[in-house]
Amino acid sequence: MPEQFLWAMEVMLNGLMAGVLYALVALGFVLIFKASGVFNYAQGVMALFAAMTLVGLQKGQVPFAHLINTIFGTDVHKFGWELAPWLAILLTAGVMVLFAWLVQRFILQHLVNQPDIILFMATIGLAYFMEGFADLMWGADIKTLDIGLPQGVNAWIDETTFNLFGYGFFIDNLDIAATIVAALLVVALVLFSQYTKQGRAMRAVADDHQAALSVGISLRFIWVMVWSVAGFVALVAGIMWGAKSGVQFSLSLIALKALPVLMLGGFTSIPGAIVGGLIIGVGEKLFEFLVGPHIGGATENWFAYVLALIFLVFRPQGLFGEKIIERV
């Protein structure tokens, strides 16, 4: 087989893996959008915040250390303990639930019945607030996240493909782990929303707020729950991205990458988020591989958006989105 083709295939496989990570972020968006009609721009910053909290808790950092030291002239940095990964993850999930409650109590509750675009801008404000808050709480330096996920090249795939084609594919163990976790997460979410009482209530709210209220579903509880679930998804995404490239500010920018994924897949569809993520992941890696060298490279910055833009002109509701019907 020609080498060029093998390389393209390797790029494609890596694109699929990257796509899974995009889909993970996009999933959080879809959940919140379906249940509360809020387009949550802060999802990426939630992932950053979750990852930072996880690292901070695990390493036993003192929150707001910099601020405390500046005001009181003290010099505290660490509590001096190290938590087990599972305990840290559990505690972080708790923090995200608390965060969901705060968001519901102080923002969403006051913005009921506002136009969607106002809510969207409110989440941009929330994203800014959390960015500053997270940095203030845990410090702005780049942190390494290590909860014992496998890293490095997968030797088995490398060997097998080498024996088959005479060229070993380079695929990161971490990406494989991410794919498995993402698949588990999606299955869990589907089971949750189909077979549990709360999940059904969530779908009812997504369908029609007022009808759900009239049969006695508590909107406030559902919103807190949905934001908690989205916070948990953000935590998973934060762990995966954080383990891949370190916990730093650029993590919050994956939210921007998830937007074209959503536009492709449609804002209201969980399968759409996954398929959209895969298309974007493969598309941008292949485009960079095939066309990038001829036009200067770094096309990954904009390819996803332009693809989504062109796609939307032909199908404004996305691949799996509900058909948009407009009335006066």
């Binding site: 387009f39 910099h66 601020l67 500046t70 102080f106 923002i107 006051h110 913005l111 506002q114 969607d116 675009i117 106002i118 969207f120 801008m121 409110a122 941009i124 404000g125 929330l126 994203a127 800014y128 607030f129 959390m130 960015e131 500053g132 808050f133 940095d135 203030l136 702005a140 921007l256 937007l259 074209p260 959503l262 536009m263 804002f267 036009i295 200067g296 490279g297 770094a298 096309t299 910055n301 904009w302 958006y305 332009v306 989504a308 833009l309 939307l312 002109v313 404004p316 407009e326 009335r327 006066v328």
Partner: protein
């Protein structure tokens, strides 16, 4: 009595529909103009020009532009930074290609070029609405920044990839370059800002502006009563991009002097301008100025209080700035969705009745 219409008789339709119907407002406006044009240029120094006045004037133009598109025509755009970059690079290419032409023409033509680019990216708005459009404008943001970064023709093949404003003049006075004096730069920006604000005010209260507002309030209904969505939306994109392009050209040529595209015109700039019009007030000319002033002054104030006053580290102050901006956005959206402009309006209403409660 202060601040009353009473005794201020209007004898023509023209007088009746003027921007400032109350005498005190008119006097305040003209006083402000006299101070801005005749007093400030004599007392201005480099610190005030660079830290406060120039950014305020330039961002006010950009905020006016985005307010026309988002506040009046209802099309949310996150591509402001990209369009500002178009203005800056167009101005740069024109300045280096035609060195003898006065700078004013470079800036205006750069605005016109941005208007064309804006219309091209505005075309999808006919099919895509709401969030989808907001995200689609991100395509403009990232694509344009990438383009100016990667195609050497745009930065005249300079080794650093940056663009530097050469010295260009207007009526013999240097406006750009290292030799330009603070009063000259200030006056140049001031004239453009006042002229563009005047244009914006008159466009938005004329038939064009009413069409934009009809589209914003409900586009299908607007179409039924005879507003052509193609011309209304594209004209909003064109006018808005013209303003933003001029602001980008000024930001590069007059204010910064040297620009690296990703740093000066990144996505953060798009959000900055968006925040200005949210805090200032969507769909308000005064709001654009108020928002620009607020977002320019707040970091200066925070730096003075926290860093110089309390002796905090600059990164702490920066984190606080993020938190304050974010919290303010939310507070404004919750308590006063129409921004500072609405607060101002309410204050004026109160003043008109004062000292009576009703």
């Amino acid at each position: 009595m202060i601040y009353r219409e009473a005794g201020d008789f209007k004898t023509s339709y023209r007088e009746d529909s003027q921007t400032f119907p109350i005498k005190l407002d008119r006097r305040a406006y003209w006083t402000l103009m006299v101070v801005a044009f005749a007093v400030v240029p004599f007392v201005i120094n480099d610190y005030w020009a660079n830290a406060v006045l120039l950014p305020f004037l330039i961002y006010a133009i950009a905020a006016l532009g985005l307010n026309i598109l988002t506040g009046y025509a209802g099309q949310v755009s996150l591509g402001t930074g990209g369009f500002m970059a178009v203005g800056a690079y167009a101005a740069y290419k024109l300045m280096t290609a035609f060195p003898d032409v006065p700078i004013l023409f470079h800036v205006l033509i750069a605005g016109a070029i941005t208007a064309l680019v804006g219309m091209a990216f505005g075309l999808p708005s006919l099919r895509i609405k709401g969030f989808y459009l907001a995200v689609a404008t991100l395509a403009a943001q990232f694509f344009l920044v990438w383009l100016f970064n990667k195609v050497p023709w745009f930065f005249n093949y300079s080794a650093s990839g940056m663009i530097n404003a050469p010295e260009r003049t207007m009526f013999g006075a240097a406006i750009t370059g290292a030799e330009a004096s603070a009063p000259a730069r200030y006056l140049f920006c001031l004239i453009l800002t006042v002229a563009l604000a005047w244009i914006a005010r008159n466009l938005t209260r004329g038939s064009v502006g009413r069409k934009w507002m009809a589209i914003r309030d409900m586009d299908i209904a607007a179409e039924i009563i005879g507003v052509n969505p193609l011309t209304a939306k594209l004209s909003a994109f064109a006018v808005s991009s013209f303003f933003i392009g001029v602001a980008g050209a000024l930001l590069f040529a007059v204010y910064l002097g040297a620009v690296e595209v990703g740093e000066a015109f990144g996505i953060q700039k798009s959000f900055l301008i968006l925040f200005m019009i949210i805090i200032g007030g969507l769909g308000s000319i005064f709001g654009s100025f108020a928002g620009a002033a607020f977002m320019v002054l707040m970091p200066v104030l925070l730096k003075n209080v926290l860093v110089d006053g309390f002796g905090w580290a600059t990164d702490l102050a920066a984190h606080f700035q993020f938190m304050i901006v974010g919290a303010l956005i939310i507070v404004f959206l919750v308590f006063e969705p129409h921004g500072l402009a609405q607060l101002w309006r309410l204050a004026k209403e109160k003043l008109r009745l004062w000292p009576f409660p009703h």
